[in-house]
């Protein structure tokens, strides 16, 4: 092992820190690429997180709640109720002797409350003149583009039960 530095034409600092400018560029590019790839990995992990969350919340368990007695609502009549939580207003319509449909009362445009218009036989939003079909909740007019969430209604004897929510029309 030599204890003394060999004579060299290069200055001392260049011998001690033999850094080429292009090598520096290479290192910084490589590090930047590594940073980009790690960011890509983070995005992928984010997508996986969404996937795992969706697996656990794919089928939300809705409560079974009695919302009305069948004879309480006349044909063509409506009844308001709250489902699945007391804060969420819904509207039940009796469209025939044995036909009941229910929707969330929240407009899918800007969340105003929709009401049933017997004259036009549709659900209307007073805020921006949006309208939804009574048959399937699909948007008919105005700014809403998504259908109203449909409440699944089942009849058990004389009682009407809300058992779930369907987001699609």
């Amino acid at each position: 092992m030599s204890l003394f530095r060999k004579p060299s034409r290069e200055p001392l600092w260049r011998d001690e820190f033999s850094v080429f400018s292009n090598d520096e560029k290479y290192v910084s590019r490589r590090q930047f690429s590594k940073f980009l790839v790690l960011t890509s990995l983070a995005m992928f992990v984010g997508n996986l997180w969404i996937l795992v969350r969706s697996w656990f919340s794919r089928k939300p368990l809705y409560p079974v709640t009695a919302i009305a007695r069948a004879n309480e609502v006349p044909v063509g009549g409506v009844r308001l109720f709250q489902y699945p939580t007391p804060q969420e207003q819904c509207i039940l319509l009796r469209t025939g002797a044995n036909e009941y449909v229910a929707y969330s009362q929240k407009c899918t445009h800007l969340s105003c409350s929709v009401f049933y218009s017997a004259a036009s036989d549709r659900l209307e939003c007073p805020c921006h003149n949006g309208a939804f079909s009574v048959r399937d909740g699909s948007p008919l007019q105005g700014p809403p583009r998504r259908p109203l969430p449909r409440i699944v209604v089942e009849r058990k004897g004389d009682v009407l039960l809300a058992t779930g929510i369907k987001l699609e029309a």
């Binding site: 690429s33 995005m43 984010g46 997508n47």
Partner: protein, 80 residues
């Protein structure tokens, strides 16, 4: 001719720049993909979540492949 200014070194630098540009483009697409998947998930549409994750994983693998390519070029260039 200096090792850093030789034609092969210039070609390596060009290739590395190209690979980096491709990674940046893929990353922009991936960021959009994550935000779009999150938005549809929060809107209650779960059917887009799995394809989103698969596509995101594919983009990550391509980015990783490009990174390995950069590493290999860099290692070749640094050979004494």
């Amino acid at each position: 001719m200096d090792r850093q200014t030789s034609p092969s070194a210039k070609r390596s630098v060009t290739a590395i720049d190209g690979a980096m540009a491709l990674i940046v483009i893929l990353l922009i697409v991936q960021i959009w993909l994550v935000s779009a998947t999150l938005e549809t998930y929060l809107a209650g549409h779960y059917e887009t979540v799995l394809p989103g994750a698969v596509l995101s994983g594919t983009i990550f693998l391509v980015c990783f492949g490009l990174y390995l390519f950069i590493e290999r070029l860099d290692a070749e260039f640094r050979k004494p």
